[in-house]
């Protein structure tokens, strides 16, 4: 957390900013979702409040805040209130671990009579050696939120919704974990920054003894782990209870699933949790498969440094960090749009189809993927290295 | 977070902590009548054991402790699964999850 007061404060500020970033994205996503679904269904969507309905977000926020604090009769108040909080925490923790951009180098400078040594601020909430493990751990805690909500609201529909949702998240966690194993095998590290660093160069790999270099393609993970990517993406849909897998809150059968009884700000927190998970999911997708915050031919850290040689090193690293961050954001938004797009195009799975898909297709395929990647890597490394 | 030498916290601290947790776990097994509660206190005991393994591993400088924790965990998961399956069976038959129904299984 830093050795002196400056670093300490910067880090604290950074955590808050990133958390607020995640929270702020949610209304934006809600708006995009409503506008997008409207666009898909050939209708207008919210356009009354402000230009293109942008201030609709504000209106929603006010609505959520002013809604009556309603607690169902006979429910377990403690669980009822705990559920939204627990829904939010895993998403925030996971998002904090994902590097949004390259670390910012700050040279030594003097301020307030003391000279502060050079710092490097990692562009994420906290720098973790085993980033992936941490993220997996955090996402696995999401199941509790569902259970607590379902059980706390003393309502049969919500209980059933909760049980189904947690069963679903647990079973898809398996295939998610295994597909991530494939990724880890390729990058041979748990640390996100190293993964992104490996993806920054041109597509270059050894194949049956001779080195291949495709200069016009970036060295992204997607080319190494295409099947892994698809499986992981599908698993993320299930993890976040997004549409094809959002049986637990299927309106038709279970009213609103586990958050039937929730309204007001608690409902808002659930939304934040859900969209937070989507954000984490898409961030992971970009980091694993689409090169994170690097854009090979144009915006790589080296090329930017040359361009910004005129600025002082700190400013240069600041500018490069933020520009790369933009790159990262664009990719993430692209995936978020896919999430939203899929929601309004694919029909919902029946529960047994859901389970069969999870256990009988996704799990075997992710196993195969992990094994095949392992075999190839062993062959490549041992035989020709 | 530098892992400089933990002057204050020695191995005994961890061992004593795990001993306490372990005994709480035993109390759970002995006193609680609900099967699932017993399973949980069992998990508690296993956690205490893991803690001792890791503590020994850390202070003796080798990784065997962590390996053992791996195995203990898989075992605990397996044991929990079976225990819960039995608990479900007991619940389905007696509509109550109480240790005294285990007697029905004898002979």
């Amino acid at each position: 957390m830093g050795s002196d007061i400056f670093e300490f404060s910067i880090n604290g500020l950074k955590i808050i900013i990133i958390f607020m970033m995640m929270v702020q994205i949610v209304p934006l996503l809600v708006w995009v979702e409503r506008r997008g679904s409207a666009y898909i269904q050939n209708r207008f969507g919210p356009n009354r409040v402000g230009p293109l309905g942008l201030t609709q977000l504000l209106a929603d926020a006010v609505k959520f805040l002013t809604k009556e604090e309603f607690v169902p009769q006979g429910s377990y108040k403690f669980f009822f209130y705990l559920a939204p909080v627990v829904a939010l925490i895993p998403a925030a923790l996971a998002f904090g671990a994902i590097p949004l951009s390259i670390p910012i180098q700050v040279e030594a400078f003097t301020m307030m009579g003391r000279n502060w040594g050079p710092y490097t601020f990692p562009f994420q909430s906290f720098e973790l050696g085993l980033g992936v493990v941490f993220v997996l751990g955090a996402s696995s805690l999401a199941a509790y939120a569902l259970l607590l909500a379902g059980y706390g609201s003393n309502n049969k529909y919500s209980l059933f919704g909760a049980l189904r949702a947690s069963a679903q998240t647990i079973s898809y966690e398996l295939s998610m974990g295994l597909s991530i194993v494939g990724v880890l095998l390729v990058y041979n590290t748990f640390n996100f920054t190293e993964m992104v660093a490996q993806q920054s160069g041109p597509l270059a790999f050894k194949f049956l003894g001779n080195d291949l270099l495709i200069s016009w393609l970036p060295n992204w993970g997607i080319f190494y782990q295409p099947l892994g990517a698809i499986l992981l993406f599908a698993a993320f849909f299930a993890e976040t209870n997004r549409l094809p897998f959002d049986l637990p809150e299927a309106e038709g059968e279970l009213v609103a699933g586990y958050h039937t009884e929730y309204g007001g700000f608690k409902m808002n927190m659930f939304y934040i949790g859900e969209y937070g998970h989507m954000l984490v999911a898409s961030a992971l997708m970009t980091t694993f498969f689409f090169g994170g915050y690097t854009l090979y031919p144009w915006l790589t850290p080296e090329s930017l440094n040359q361009a910004l040689s005129s600025f002082s090193p700190t400013q240069a690293s600041l500018i490069t960090a933020f520009s790369l961050h933009l790159v990262f954001l664009v990719k993430v938004l692209f995936f978020l749009w896919i999430f939203i797009h899929v929601r309004w195009t694919l029909p919902r799975f029946r529960y047994d189809q859901l389970m069969d898909l999870g256990w009988k297709t996704m799990l075997p395929w992710s196993l195969v993927n992990a094994i095949v990647t392992a075999v190839i890597i062993v062959l490549m490394r041992s035989h020709w290295s | 977070m530098q892992n400089i030498e933990a002057i204050g916290i020695g191995q005994n601290h961890y061992l004593i902590l795990s001993a306490i947790i372990f005994s709480i776990g035993i109390m759970g097994v002995l006193f609680r009548k609900n099967i699932i509660m017993m399973l949980m206190s069992l998990e508690l005991m296993l956690n205490a054991i893991n803690l001792t393994f890791i503590a020994f591993g850390y202070f003796n400088g080798n990784l065997n402790g962590q390996i053992m924790v791996f195995f203990v965990m898989t075992l605990a998961a397996a044991e929990a699964a079976i225990g819960l399956a039995i608990a479900v069976m007991i619940y389905r038959k007696f509509n109550e999850v109480n240790i005294r129904y285990f007697e029905q299984m004898k002979g």
Binding site: A162 | I4, G10, G28, R32, L39
Partner: protein, 184 residues
């Protein structure tokens, strides 16, 4: 200096919370409460692991224990809708006293043995190289994997088989339609 205080503080805070949660797990009448307290204990233990330079194990602990096993417990508890248990604790004064006495004795012996076995080894574990923290964790994990797949590979395989057996067993047990008034 700060890290020194923090690491001690970190340990004591976690230790005390652990004990408190563990105690709550055993004594709370509502099973779901105790289940959640158990989750918190596990998180606490994961924190301690983190401190004992076993980050990967801490992660695994969270994923496996807190994420899967406890969810199973909570799901089952919720499925049974077990409310507040009135006679949760086994009655019987004599056996109760006997139990308490024996547990106290066990703890007494253990603690006595620990304290007696010489000063607390504060020695710096060879694992913690001074380098930045991330590389050490990776290094630890790699060594762990190395050890796991060379020296203990047999145990690893056996455990794989065990898990398979347990999976089948659990399904088999729960599908039994038997019982005295089984309808077949």
């Amino acid at each position: 200096m700060s890290t020194f205080i923090i690491s001690n503080l970190w340990f004591y805070v976690l230790a005390l919370s652990l004990i408190f949660f563990a105690f709550k797990v055993v004594t709370s009448a509502n099973p779901i409460h105790s289940a959640l307290h158990l989750v918190l204990t596990m998180m606490g233990v994961a924190g301690l692991f983190f401190h004992l330079n076993a980050q990967f194990i801490a992660g695994v602990q969270v994923i496996v224990y807190a994420g899967a096993v406890m969810v199973l417990f909570v799901m089952v508890l919720m499925l049974f809708d077990l409310k507040h248990e009135f006679n949760a604790f086994a009655k019987g004064l004599v056996s109760g006293f006997l139990k308490l006495m024996s547990v106290a004795l066990v703890v007494g012996y253990l603690v006595g043995v620990f304290l007696e076995s010489g000063e607390s080894k504060g020695v710096k574990a060879s694992l913690t190289t001074s380098g930045d923290q991330t590389s050490t964790q990776l290094q630890v994990t790699r060594d762990l994997a190395q050890l796991l797949y060379t020296k203990y590979v047999l145990v690893f395989e056996v455990l794989g088989v065990l898990l398979l057996v347990v999976a089948i067993g659990a399904v088999a047990i729960s599908r039994i339609q038997g019982g005295t008034h089984a309808k077949h």
